[in-house]
Amino acid sequence: MARFRAIRHIAMTATNHPLPPTHTGALAKREQRLAYSLLLPTFMVVFGIVLIPLLANFWISFKPVQLGDLRPATMLANEQLRPRPKAAGDEVILRYRVRNSSQKDPIKAVTMRDLLPPGLDVTLNDERCSLEGRALFCDFGTMDAGQRFNLEFPTMVHQAYLDSGERPRDVKATFTGSARNVLTSGEFTLDNFRKVFSSDEFWTVLKVSLYYTIFGTLGALVLGLFAAQILNTAFKGRNLLRGLFLFPYVAPVIAVAFAWVLLLDAGPGGTFNAMLMQMGATDGPINFLGQRAVPVTLFGLTFDFPMALTTVIAFEAWRYFPLSFLFILARMQSISTDMYEAAEMDGATPLQQFWYLSLPQLLGILSVLFLLRFIWTFNKFDDIFLLTGGAAGTRTLTVDVYEQAFAVSNLGAGAAVAVVVFFVLLIFALIFFKFSPQDDG
């Protein structure tokens, strides 16, 4: 009844007073304009460096472009007077050696301009060239790939040349011309994708990527949860320990990755292996980062234990547990203690308190962290690249992008793998945003 009355009340006021304006006023428009102008620089940077390259990557993935194609074809010229003039009145040759630097691409509509030193009397014997005062202009038309020729003009040297001290090389010949640029040409191919999907390695790489992402993420989360548990109680030196626990995350990746590489070295000088052997844990050194698989027998079953992959996953968990630790600790310290006191009174044991009180409270931040870390771990390139270089069964999709584009020098194929990376990521993101709980964390 009360609700009904309230609705009637609203209806009545609505008839008595005019509705608030629905169009945007001048003031609001000014505010909008200001907001857009404040955001414009950010938009431009993000568009220029993130979104456009993202699209450009799609473009490149359909192009037959090699790393070497990035150096565009250019014209080169070498000019000299032969023989070297000694006195006024010498008859010499002004020679230009002209060539197309590219062995692959022709250059169209090539023109050359040069300013000759004063005091030279040049006889033009080539109809492609013309001389206006001291300005030489030549129109060579199309130069084929790798084409080269010499222009040799008979020249009479005057005293003015010898006096001026200016030599032909002092002013470089400049060229114009249009070379094919594979990046902007209309040439497209599906070969890059065909190459990527047809190789057997691709599916292994995808699998390794997923293993690395899933276990790396879970490892970092579980370690972070443990670390947060032990630092949740107050004790002397807690801040010190908290600072120490953040070290792996704060230190540069090159520093910690190389420290791990040296620590886990299987050759002489490898500290960790020496330690294990000294303790009698192993007979010989274990090649943590260089061995693809170790046969392990467990309950009579033999399976291949992926050694190097496990090590890089351990590194991932080690390096990124501080992040989850920090967030979980912050969340735990915001949980009110009343609940725990009540639970204590009711006789709940510590493990029950953790399972039934802490964990549900932490679920929100844990799922957010899982989501973020999952995506970031999937995107990770530096760590594996520095630890193993993608060898020994640790090549993930991101490392594969580098290998294809820069190690094999096939930019197009690298871009094609990058497209795959992007779409896998998009699928993850869609799944996560569909199923993730609506929690602010």
Binding site: E31, L34, A35, Y36, P41, T42, V45, V46, I49, V50, P53, L54, A56, N57, V65, L183, A227, G243, L244, L246, F247, P248, V250, A251, P252, I254, A255, V256, F258, A259, L262, P268, G269, T271, N273, A274, M275, Q278, G280, L323, L326, F327, G347, T349, P350, L369, L372, R373, T377, N379, F381, T398, V401, Y402, F406, L411, A415, A418, V421, L425
Partner: protein
């Protein structure tokens, strides 16, 4: 005499501590003194078990605890010495006696202390499960403490110590991280001196500093007005922006690297620091904007309105009211962006070819070859790590609160 469950748990936890501390102290002794050690873990477990059983009544006493713990420590020392035949760490006590005795005392003290701490406040009686779990959690926490600390610190320890040693001595005994202090400062820090004099590390350090600081300023210059607009001004797309700006941060760098490499090569920006100064801010601006807008929202808008009433322009409000009020947030964002730029590897590695413009990340990678001795690589790693760690420790409070309040990064 009848054993209760609590006696059994005390013995078990004593055994665990005995073994764990033996391994940890043994390894540390090995690393610090360079002594060849084979820790007698089995004997230590046994001694630890006895210690646990002795510590149980001790933990329940109120008076004269310290004296009793001291005598327990002495007892442990004697027991270990006798049972191992005067070689408590697997080598005769005669070698490196000072280190060994010290390690032995530390071991005994830690075992007694850990047992006492775990059993502290124990009273027999009700809720057996409750007490069991308390004990279990204490032991687990203790183990986690030790393991976490060792696992986190070990690579850093090895990094610093390797940088102070020489290749030959490392190959001869990779476990010997003892530092010979008699050799003098110059010889001790030889790797560092060589890096700065022969390997150009001075200019790398300078380049890194320039790039990082410039990135911080460019990022703030772009992100502060943007964040203010998102936090305070009403415009269509505001809600969408404030939520989706972080999505930019999900785009993998490796997807951007090929097109940026191609375009920057053709524009002549690739092998320059300007190239990095274009790329770095683009990756940090979205995060900075997200962190700052969260903070700006929390500021009271009345102050800004008062400023507007008194005739300040919006820019004036941002510069004179909002920015001074959000100094802690600005500091944490600045530190965070600095960290990202300083530690960045991929673009520095892909873009920089000339030795003169290497950043530290790129410079250290160039040391990773068989021709450069290990201590140089690790000294390079230390040089790259120290500034960012020092800054971080200095501003840790800011960073931690800023990170957890506003945003996140990976």
């Amino acid at each position: 005499m009848k054993f209760r469950w609590v006696d059994i748990s005390a013995i078990v936890l004593g055994a665990i501590w005995g073994a764990l501390w033996m391994i940890v102290i043994g390894v540390l002794l090995m690393l610090v003194s360079g002594l060849i050690v084979s820790p007698p873990v089995a004997i230590a477990t046994l001694v630890g078990a006895v210690a646990g059983w002795f510590a149980l009544p001790l933990a329940q006493r109120i008076s004269a605890k310290n004296t009793l713990y001291a005598s327990l420590t002495v007892l442990l020392v004697i027991a270990l010495l006798v049972l191992t035949g005067l070689s408590p760490f697997g080598t005769a006590l005669g070698e490196n006696t000072v280190y060994q005795v010290f390690a032995l005392l530390v071991w005994a003290g830690l075992v007694g202390w850990s047992c006492g701490l775990c059993l502290d406040g124990y009273t027999s009686g009700s809720a057996k499960r409750y007490r069991m779990e308390i004990l279990l959690i204490r032991v687990m926490k203790g183990l986690a403490f030790v393991l976490f600390t060792v696992v986190v610190a070990l690579p850093f320890y090895v990094m610093v110590m390797t940088s102070l040693k020489s290749q030959q001595s490392l190959l001869a005994n990779p476990l010997d991280f003892s530092i010979d202090l008699t050799q003098g400062v110059e010889s001790l820090f030889r790797s560092y001196v060589e890096l700065f004099t022969q390997y150009n590390f001075g200019s790398f350090l300078l380049n890194s500093a320039i790039v990082s600081v410039a990135t911080v300023f460019i990022t703030l210059f772009f992100a502060v007005p943007g964040a203010y607009a998102v936090a305070r001004l009403r415009f269509p797309g505001q809600a969408f922006l404030s939520r989706s700006i972080l999505l930019i941060y999900m785009v993998p760098a490796i997807v951007l690297v090929i097109p940026l490499y191609a375009v920057f090569s053709q524009l002549g920006l690739r092998n320059t620091l300007y190239g990095l100064l274009i790329v770095y801010p683009a990756t940090t601006i979205p995060v900075a904007l997200y962190m700052l807008q969260g903070y700006f929202r929390g500021l009271p808008s009345e102050l800004e309105e008062a400023g507007l009433m008194d005739g300040l322009s919006r820019m004036g409000v941002i510069a004179k009211i909002t920015m001074p009020l959000s100094l802690p947030a600005l500091a944490s964002v600045a530190l965070y962006v600095f960290m990202i730029a300083w530690n960045e590897f991929l673009f520095a590695f892909m873009f920089l070819d000339d030795l003169d413009i290497f950043t530290l990340s790129r410079g250290v990678v160039s040391l990773n070859s068989s021709e450069v001795p290990r201590q140089h690589l690790m000294a390079g790693a230390v040089i790259a790590t120290v500034p960012v760690l020092a800054l971080f420790l200095w501003f840790e409070r800011f960073l931690v609160s800023g990170l957890t309040a506003g945003s996140v990064k990976g």
